[in-house]
């Protein structure tokens, strides 16, 4: 189950963060998302070291945190998408397709002429479409 998705801006500032748990661990998930930015930094700064190819937006598994797994995705405009899931056996192809849909929803949201680039995304439509994408994915 996907428990949290986040969009993080250039200055590593949160643009959108939404958790999908009934439990009261929203803050814990925020911490996990924030810590995963270290891994993204490392992968982006040393692409050859970590074996990721330059043109690949999907960053793969960032790190396993407790009972969660954190996946990352980096757009061409250096906006980061982060997804936290409780599923332990996840196929990369599924995560990739999830991020592709998520990216499309993000592009729709920031294409809104009333959206100011670099500001937090407060669009309700975006929130709804993200919720729908998250609901449609259960990796197990």
């Amino acid at each position: 189950m996907i428990v949290c998705v986040a969009v993080v801006g250039h200055q590593n500032n949160p643009l959108y963060i939404q958790s999908f748990t009934e439990a009261d661990d929203a803050l814990k998930l925020h911490h996990i998302v924030h810590c995963s930015l270290d891994v993204i930094d490392e992968r982006v700064n040393n692409p050859s070291k970590s074996g990721t190819t330059l043109n690949e937006a999907f960053l793969g598994l960032l790190y396993p945190a407790l009972n969660y797994k954190v996946y990352g995705y980096l757009t061409n405009t250096k906006v980061k998408f982060i997804m936290v899931t409780t599923d332990l056996d996840v196929r990369d192809t599924d995560v990739r397709s999830f991020f592709r849909k998520f990216h499309a929803a993000y592009v729709d949201a920031v294409s809104n002429p009333f959206h100011v680039p670099g500001k937090k995304i407060t669009s309700r439509t975006f929130s709804e479409s993200v919720t729908n994408i998250v609901r449609s994915y259960s990796f197990n």
Binding site: N13, L27, D38, N46, G60, P64, V116, K119
Partner: protein, 959 residues
């Protein structure tokens, strides 16, 4: 001596016999052989030692021993392996035991591969026991299995890491963790599981840290397998230390919960004393006295749990947690993983907070809070600030408490959800990040310092028992996290203002506090303290509070209300009257709230204003600080106050071109027209108009006078004599292009003049700058100088252009081509005929716009035959002034044009020789005046003459 290698003695493992060399002297060799055969001993197990050379003999004994030992281990392992293969025992626990034994024997033999294989076999068999074994009571059974699993895991990890198989070790740990992750056992006593999990991570972290394999970069490894992808963090010991601490935290809280819920907390302690770990790994037993003998008994699960709880209570988990997290924090800091490090710091701080150690907690919270502030993670920032606020409350730091509370309150928390149904423990002491919580903190803080004096005594409930009636002053600068509390934008309406005249200034205040704030009064401070002014709120009683920044009697404004509405600019426009010239800058705006609380906010220009990091990315409606959109974008908090209008005139008397070589005199007159002049100073500067300096780079010798094309030769004061110069130090300084002259004190209406002499060495246009600085009101300390600037461009011109050419004689020789064409390089040397007189035509053209008097011209020959110089005077001149000729502008000396100066006359005379008789035309003479564009044309009659044939005579007429 006889060493039995193993007891009991058996012939299968022959004894090793060492005999002293001396034995051979006593017993014959044959007898020894017979003895050996009788004892059925191999010759290699009988060693002869020379006691004098013992060190040399010892290695032989060692190798013999090891050979025997290896043989024994191999044999034992083979024996046990055959038992496993035969499946003689179906009992899983025996198989685990056998596998362990074989692995240990393999380790003894340094056969790492086999050791690893059998440890893994043991591990897997053990895992199968979890659901099947019924040997011990349920809890103890699981404890035993997990303890053995831990032991096997330790063995396997160590072997893998020592073999340099880092990736395999990490993958193995993964599998180990995931196989036992869910093997919790009784949920009531889950603390046992957490403790065990924590130990797994700790042990692996320590192994990883100690292993030399970690030195090699994880990046060179293939990141895991396709099934189990590994990430960077999983190769860092810090990651495991952090998780070990996390599981220990789980254990700690589970244990605390258990102990608090346990009714019979006391009885736990009593009966658990005699329980000890058994000789078997993972088992516990009780020591009981039976008469005089002590016997060990199995214990029930209840007894075990009591024992486990009492043991667990003895340990200070918090110290362990802090120690591991600190290791992790340092390691992540070294790896430049700032966010992971910050998270560890946060966990450390929380642990210290739980231990009621606010100063240590504050130290680590501060590390965390800075990162969250920078990156604008509001939810995380809110939580940390909540903790910090409590720390400052516990430390009694009132100012910190207020600052942190205000920072929290001014965060962009817009969530309206009230998670009232959730337990409090999910939030820090700051509570949930909601608007209502922001508002309640706001009210709490503002009642704390805005309440009336008589209520101060009852502030103990806030935790502050002292110093609450002392004034509190907060400074907010550009990088302060409190900037959203009070943002002061100041914009002057004009970029340049006149002194002593009113200028408008707009003061805009913005607050992100959730509730409106009423300000008692505002103090606006400038770099010129005379401009400081106060804005009072008319609704508040006038309190004569002593102010250090605003002098009494300074400007005061009154506003009907001074209320800062959340996220709305409070715009105030006032007029101020600056006294002094120069830069006028608004420094800060000080807001007084209540009787004891002041906030001073650094003034910012609207043009350079940026949102604070936490508000920068918020999607909220932003309004402009000023109504005027241009001012909101380009407004500045500083302006330039002009100098007072100078009432002194400086005039530069001369104009027009200067001639090269001439001592050009420039009179400078300083006339007072309303201002008296005190300590006046005249600065004179010559600047090359074309740029590039007043001297050519070719001659750029700094001390050469001639290097300057234009230079100031001297300045004569009005008095003009040397005496006054030396007395008053009139000429202070003169350089080639710079002069400084002091002007004597002048009263109103007086004037003073001096003459400046400038000399041109080359034709060059020059800019002359003259600036006078003076004090209008005597020599007061705070008086400001008034400056007047004058400038004049002066052209330096060559007065005459001199040309010379030889009149070539009539060509007499043949037209020979080769002689007509001169060689191209010999054009400037014209050839002259020998022994004949040649005519040299010298012309000097006046290229200036004024008339010049040509005194004389001289020609000097630079010849080998001696110098012949001659003086030439104007040939056809009027002759009134002997030896000199007037040259009108543009006129050329010895030329066809004739110029007539006003009030002078010029006689043109020529001779005519008539060749035929009859009516003849005289040479036509036309007079054209260039300046007045007038023309004179004589009549046809006046220009014709009749020539008689007989008398060869002619008269000439001319005007």
């Amino acid at each position: 001596m006889v060493y039995p290698p193993f007891s009991p003695f058996s012939l299968e493992y022959p004894p090793l016999i060492t005999l002293s060399q001396l034995v051979l002297e006593v017993i014959s060799e044959d007898r020894l052989l017979a003895l050996r055969k009788r004892a059925e001993l191999d010759s290699k197990y009988v060693l002869f030692l020379n006691h004098s050379e013992l060190p040399l003999s010892l290695p032989r004994i060692a190798s013999a021993f090891s050979e025997l030992a290896l043989a024994y281990y191999r044999e034992e392992a083979r024996r046990i392996k055959s038992r496993i293969e035969k499946r003689s025992s179906t009992s899983l626990d025996l198989i685990v035991r056998y596998c362990f034994k074989v692995a240990v024997y393999a380790e003894f033999r340094r056969d790492w591969g086999e050791a690893l294989k059998f440890y893994e076999d043991a591990y897997h068999s053990l895992h199968e026991m979890i659901g099947t074994s019924t040997r011990l009571p349920a809890i103890q059974r699981l404890v035993e299995i997990k303890t053995i699993a831990e032991l096997l895991h330790f063995k396997i990890s160590t072997l893998l890491l020592h073999g340099g198989k880092l990736t395999e070790a990490v993958i193995w740990f993964h599998q180990h963790k995931s196989s036992y992750d869910k093997v919790v056992g009784s949920t009531e006593y889950i603390f046992l599981h957490w403790e065990w999990m924590s130990r797994q991570f700790l042990v692996f972290a320590e192994l990883l840290e100690a292993s030399s394999a970690t030195v090699q970069s994880f990046s060179s490894l293939n990141q895991g397998t396709a099934q189990i992808p590994l990430t960077e963090f999983e190769f860092y010991p810090a990651y495991y230390y952090q998780l070990a601490a996390h599981y220990l935290q789980n254990k700690k809280s589970a244990l605390e919960l258990l102990v608090s819920m346990s009714v019979a907390a006391q009885e736990i302690d009593g009966s658990s004393e005699s329980i000890t770990p058994s000789v078997y790994v993972g088992q516990f037993s009780q020591l009981r006295e039976k008469g005089e003998a002590l016997t060990l008994h199995f214990i029930t699960d209840e007894e075990y749990i009591r024992y486990a709880i009492s043991e667990a209570k003895r340990f200070q988990d918090s110290f362990e947690i802090v120690a591991w997290l600190k290791k992790s924090y340092e390691s992540f800091t070294n790896l430049k993983s700032r966010r992971m490090a910050a998270f560890c710091a946060f966990e450390i701080a929380r642990e210290y907070f739980g231990l009621s150690d606010p100063s240590n907690a504050k130290f680590f919270f501060d590390i965390t809070v800075n990162l969250y502030r920078q990156e604008g993670w509001v939810s995380l920032l809110w939580e940390v600030l909540g903790y910090l606020r409590e720390c400052s409350r516990n430390l009694g730091a009132f100012k910190d408490f207020v600052e942190l509370s205000l920072e929290m309150v001014a965060l962009p928390v817009t969530s309206c959800d009230d998670f009232g149904n959730l337990r409090d423990k999910t939030y820090g002491p700051g509570g949930p990040a909601t608007v209502s919580r922001r508002e309640s903190i706001h009210r709490e803080v503002f009642t704390l310092f805005c309440r009336e004096t008589e209520l101060i005594s009852s502030t103990e409930e806030s935790g502050f028992k002292f110093a609450i009636d002392s004034p509190l002053h907060l400074e907010i600068d550009l990088v302060s996290p409190l900037r959203p509390v009070l943002l002061a934008s100041v914009a002057f309406h004009e970029q340049m203002i006149k002194p002593r005249s009113l200028c408008s200034i707009t003061l805009s205040l913005l607050s992100h506090l959730p509730l409106p704030v009423e300000i008692d009064h505002l103090e606006v401070q400038f770099n010129q303290s005379t401009c400081n002014f106060v804005v009072r709120n008319s609704q508040k009683p006038l309190v004569a509070s002593p102010s250090s920044t605003v002098q009494s009697g300074s400007q005061e404004e009154n506003e009907p209300s001074l209320v800062l509405v959340p996220n709305n600019w409070l715009r105030l426009t006032y007029a101020i009257k600056p006294e002094k010239s120069g830069k006028l800058e608004c420094l800060s705006v000080l807001a007084k709230l209540g009787t004891r609380f002041t906030i001073s906010s650094r003034a910012e220009s609207p043009a350079a204003m940026e949102d604070s990091p936490v508000w920068k990315h918020e999607n909220y409606v932003q309004s402009l600080p000023t109504k005027d959109p241009i001012l909101a974008v380009f407004g500045q908090k500083a302006t330039q106050v002009e100098e007072p209008e100078p009432q002194v005139d400086v005039s530069l008397g001369a104009s027009g071109p200067a001639l090269v070589g001439e001592n050009f005199t420039m009179p400078i007159v300083v006339t007072s027209k309303g201002h008296a002049v005190y300590s006046g100073e005249l600065k004179i500067n010559l600047v090359d108009v074309g740029g590039g300096g007043l001297f050519s780079p070719r001659e750029a010798e700094p001390f050469s006078l001639e290097s300057h094309h234009v230079e100031i030769c001297g300045i004569d004061g009005a008095e003009g004599n040397d005496e006054s110069e030396s007395e008053t130090g009139n000429i202070k300084k003169i350089q080639q292009s710079f002069g400084l002259v002091s002007v004597p004190n002048l009263k109103e209406g007086e004037s003073w003049s001096c003459k400046l002499e400038i000399k041109w060495h080359r034709a060059k246009p020059v800019m002359l700058f003259v600036s006078l600085g003076y004090l209008p009101q005597g020599s007061e300390a705070n008086a400001q100088k008034v400056h007047i600037h004058k400038s004049l461009q002066i052209e330096g011109k060559m007065p005459l252009v001199i040309n010379n050419r030889f009149m070539l004689p009539y060509r007499r020789d043949h037209l020979l081509l080769n002689r007509i064409k001169p060689a191209p390089d010999s054009e400037d040397i014209s050839s002259l005929p020998l022994n004949e007189k040649s005519v040299l035509v010298v012309s000097a053209k006046n290229c200036t716009e004024i008339a010049l008097k040509l005194m004389c011209m001289s020609i000097e020959l630079d010849d080998e035959q001696g110098k012949t110089s001659c003086l030439i005077q104007q040939g056809g001149g009027g002759g009134e002034t002997s030896g000199s000729a007037n040259l009108a502008p543009g006129e050329e000396f010895k030329s066809n044009t004739v110029s007539v100066l006003p009030k002078s006359e010029h006689v043109l005379s020529y001779k005519l020789v008539p060749l035929t008789c009859g009516q003849q035309q005289l040479p036509k003479i036309t007079l054209t005046s260039v300046r007045y564009s007038a023309e004179f044309q004589p009549s046809t009659i006046a220009s014709s003459v009749f020539v008689f044939p007989s008398a060869p005579q002619a008269n000439s007429t001319a005007k």
